[in-house]
Amino acid sequence: MAKIIVVTSGKGGVGKTTSSAAIGTGLALAGHKTVIVDFDIGLRNLDLIMGCERRVVYDFVNVINGEANLKQTLIKDKRVDNLFILPASQTRDKDALTKDGVERVLTELAKEFDFILCDSPAGIESGAMMALYFADEAVVVTNPEVSSVRDSDRILGMLSSKSRRAEQGLEGIKEHLLLTRYNPERVQKGEMLSVEDVKEILAIELIGVIPESQAVLNASNSGQPVIMDKDSDAGQAYLDTVQRLLGETVPFRFLTVEKKGFIKRIFGG
């Protein structure tokens, strides 16, 4: 049975697409057949982050409208086996998605894949609602600052009231908190909310903390998911996150300020 996971946030620019790409790639690397679906119709980005922008022929809306089938539309990743991308349409808008159409596509994908990752657009309008409606689990991407936390709170409310599971009275969507752009130094200075602050406000289980890192920008620019940069802190943090998503217990890293300097290293200062 395929698991449908929505990556959502409410607020824009917090790292939904970066996280979708990284987590999707991580799941595939772990041997699970995974598809990442770009729900951001009209503002297609996932193809760039995944480095497959020149291979987009058909898109999600074409499949919904019956103009192409899934086989023609899915883009197979060249680096990782088991990994596919369903790109969004760049020329349409969010209204091109219908609940029936999305359900049909997801049902068809569910026959073949272990994980379906839905990369949600920002906002709480129809596009974001479509992305979360059919989800079994949700990764709520949040930056450690107040506006992002409030928007995440709003989306959590939507998950518990506007999703299919809520409407049909099924067991609720399993919610995970993914904190991105975490900078322990700025937390220490009091310029950023701490992990504990955010956990206290949102009251959901923490699945990962991704440190603010140059590696993320480099990865986006080169079209390679940051999780494949195994030497980077962000890449390692995403690997931990994927393991937790698969049910393993992994200690959290990159939460404290790194000790710097030769003297400090010698004397453990």
Binding site: I124, R150, D151, D153, R154, L156, G157, M158, S160, S161, E200, I201, A203
Partner: protein, 233 residues
């Protein structure tokens, strides 16, 4: 879409019932104006039902209607009237309503005008219980009931009750108790960081809440028309 373009369905609405002994315009006008002045805006264009239980003479309904219009109220009907008064009310275009089970008979004996916001719902205070956290953007209204929230109330969320409000988590949003005007209602919360708190229309914004009780367990009640915050012991 329904195939029918017309539908008649029964619904229950909260209506304010005006209890008074003397319904002549001359005696009602000053009393009612004074009452409304206490909470301007609260009863603005509110639908009002006149309880005429103790009324012997047939009131001048045309003049009464004009008075209500002048005071920015909407007189929708009468209740508890004798057959003759009923007929006069119907002639004046007013609805005749069955007295709700909760209509207090005692209130009529008080020789002064009193707008009681008795709802047509049963008066026994129920409780509405919310097991989880109330998220930003969500609004919960406990009609004619206390509201008990096990989780927190997020920033941008609103919890409203005609009764008391109990919050066992943090209150970061808005909490409005005694929403139908009951001044005896209170708000209890385990961690006070509210955007707004209100009891029976008297409210404080978070600015007024900064200080001793911010981030602490607290109780808010109304004392002499002023909000008072105190420790939750």
């Amino acid at each position: 879409m329904s195939e029918h373009s017309l539908e008649l369905k029964g619904s229950l609405f909260p209506l304010s019932v005006l209890h008074c002994t003397d319904v002549s315009v001359s005696s009602l006008e000053p009393l009612l104006s004074a009452k409304l002045a206490q909470a301007p805006g609260f009863f603005y264009q509110a639908p009002i039902v006149l309880n005429l239980q103790d009324c012997q003479q047939v009131p001048d309904f045309v003049a009464l209607k004009q008075l209500f219009v002048a005071l920015k109220l909407v007189l929708v009907g009468v209740t508890g009237a004798s057959p003759t008064i009923k007929a006069a009310a119907q002639d004046a275009g007013l609805a005749v309503l069955q007295a709700g089970k909760t209509a207090s008979t005692k209130a009529n004996e008080v020789p002064q005008t009193a707008i009681s916001s008795q709802q047509l719902a049963p008066s026994t205070m129920d409780s509405k219980i919310v097991e989880q956290t109330v998220r930003s953007g969500q609004q919960i209204y406990a009609k004619g009931a206390d509201l008990i929230i096990k989780g927190a109330v997020g920033a941008g969320a609103e919890v409203i009750a005609d009764g008391n409000i109990h919050i066992y988590g943090s209150l970061r949003g808005k909490a409005i108790a005694g929403a139908s005007g009951d001044t005896s209602k209170r708000i209890y919360c385990f961690n006070m960081q509210a955007e707004l708190i209100s009891v029976a229309g008297n409210y404080w914004l978070s600015d007024s809440l900064q200080g001793e009780f911010w981030g602490k367990p607290a109780c808010i009640k109304l004392q002499d028309d002023t909000l008072v915050i105190s420790e939750l012991v």
